[in-house]
Subunit: 346 residues, 2 copies
């Protein structure tokens, strides 16, 4: 027994050492050797300030004994989802889910067609929602996604997303993730980071696809939350979805959501230009005592994805002021989309 335990102990020590050296985990598909002889952790990224900044930061915080070393327990990364990890245009996927639900309801109650925002949802009128903003989306949300328990909701959301295709790109939900960000997630996890989603989307919808697409477990997702209550249904306790919003996880709500679920400032965050949704989360990370790194993705590639910004350039201005690293899709990403479903295996 003692000999057996010694052998096992030695095996574990080797495994831990191997993991620490970065050999333990599988390399992402398509990884290549770089000039220094190591595997390139981000093969879909062009060489440039963003890629070099990421690799430099990860190297510094993982170098044991170095001045910027961060213990594994504090290697927290939080990443926005829509527009950061996957496509958010013409509208975020979840909005199409709401549209589909409104159409189902309108089949039973045709009077919905006479009222906004329901008519715009039935017509799939993206311009209306760009104009009316988040408030109109939340109105749809409360009208269509409540009055059921959490398990019923998950089944409905799964049913929708498995059939749906992005109307402009004609891609399945599994094919909408940005390949460079999938590589970043894998690289961070191999480097001992926890990778959390921190999204303005609703937590329950995110939970339906994030494990499969990003390899992120359902308990590492922070999102907008409905009001909920415990309820006995047929002598079984269920968590019931009430018609109201508990917390909007966007803008200044994101640091609060991170504090509630993680309890630590993230050392690395990623967000995107679009609705100024991620600047507060980046400032929160930047305010950490110790090293931190913030990535802001700029959608400037109409040919391969979508090109959009903000009227007042607020996110890019904040990046300049606070020293966030800007990722320009056009020049920084060699590849935008992968082959889909690859992430689930990582």
């Amino acid at each position: 027994m003692n000999k057996r335990r010694r052998v096992i102990r030695r095996a574990i020590s080797i495994a831990i050492l191997a993991a620490a050296l970065g050999f333990g985990a599988a390399q992402p598909a398509g990884s290549q050797r770089n000039q220094t002889g190591g595997a390139d952790p981000l093969p879909s990224w062009n060489d440039g300030a963003a890629k070099r900044g990421i690799i430099d930061f990860v190297s510094r915080v993982t170098r044991a004994g170095g001045p910027d070393f961060v213990p594994v327990a504090d290697r927290i990364a939080t990443l926005d989802n829509d527009g950061t990890l996957w496509v958010e245009k013409p509208l975020p996927v979840e909005v199409y889910f709401l549209f589909a639900r409104v159409r189902e309801l309108a089949a039973k109650d045709p009077s919905l067609k006479e009222r906004q925002p329901f008519n715009a949802a039935i017509e799939g009128d993206a311009a209306y929602f760009h104009e009316a903003g988040k408030k109109a989306v939340l109105e749809l949300f409360v009208a269509t996604e409540t009055g059921m328990d959490q398990e019923q909701f998950a089944a409905e959301a799964r049913h929708f997303i498995e059939k749906w295709r992005n109307p402009k790109l004609d891609r399945r939900f599994t094919e909408l993730a940005y390949q460079p960000m999938i590589e970043l997630l894998a690289y961070l996890r191999r480097s001992g980071f926890q990778t959390w989603i921190c999204s303005g989307g609703t937590i329950d919808f995110l939970r339906v696809f994030a494990p499969q697409i990003y390899g992120i477990p359902v308990d590492q997702i922070i999102g907008t939350e409905l009001k909920l209550e415990s309820r006995m249904v047929d002598d079984r306790l269920v968590v019931w979805r009430l018609p109201g919003i508990e917390a909007i996880n966007d803008k200044e709500g994101k640091p609060v959501g991170i504090d509630r679920q993680i309890g630590k400032r993230p050392i690395l965050v990623a967000g995107n230009v679009g609705n100024y949704g991620d600047v507060a989360m980046m400032q929160y990370s930047k305010g950490r005592r110790g090293p931190s790194f913030q990535l802001l993705i700029n959608h400037d590639d109409a040919a391969r994805e979508f090109a959009y910004g903000e009227k007042d350039n607020a996110s890019l201005n904040a990046a300049k002021k606070y020293g966030f690293t800007v990722v320009n899709i056009k020049s920084d990403w060699k590849t935008v989309f992968g082959v889909g479903q690859a992430a689930a295996a990582k």
Copy 2:
């Protein structure tokens, strides 16, 4: 390189196998071989229905290919804290923290001594709070634990708890944990479970001691939550504590808290007789499709700890009705307290 990677792969395979067989992790202090030759995972538990029930359940859900096998991702355990993992008498530790804070405030504002519940807090009048209940405690809480940022709060709470001793048992906070429960946590984690705290105490106070005492990270703690907001202080974004309660994580609030932070029904839960606080969480676990196990701790040992129950016996009645497993401290626990601080190393 290829040979090196093969060696490392083999080492990892052995380590994984060893972990699956339960050899990988350190055994808890005082572990002994049992009659079948394996290490006893719960040496501070007397042989009885509770201990046998736990070991039988863990064996069934971890047996690959068995009818009750549960994948690692679904091996979620949620455990109450006060009265389940550590002592909650004469009053929960956090209440003594509130008392100390009220005394500090009263030193600046003597008029507090004229008002309840402040006078009772200053006098350390446990009987008053047993009578006035949770509402009076929350009033103290809002009056004393808000108007600062999360990092200031954590520093104050840490400062308090490191000096404090339980007035009846004359033990430090690290010596108040139940040794049988520390062993249970270690056994569950070695068996691939995530061990979460789900407490009526406030999440921010729990975060100050749970990692050290239980080896539970701050992001696996569910508790009562204050209202919070993002705020810029000296050009640094902080999360600010507002004077209001966001969510009470007790009774029917516990399944909601679990859904928000974990997103899965727990397969194992532990709570205690005292204020009917854990029955909803147990029903929620019981309502899972698939195997589940519920432990209800009954405080019947005035000699070694405290003896208390509920006037209407509601928790014990629920245990009988729903089939929860009752742990009687007097007969089920060989040892109640360990040597303190042992858990941090596990």
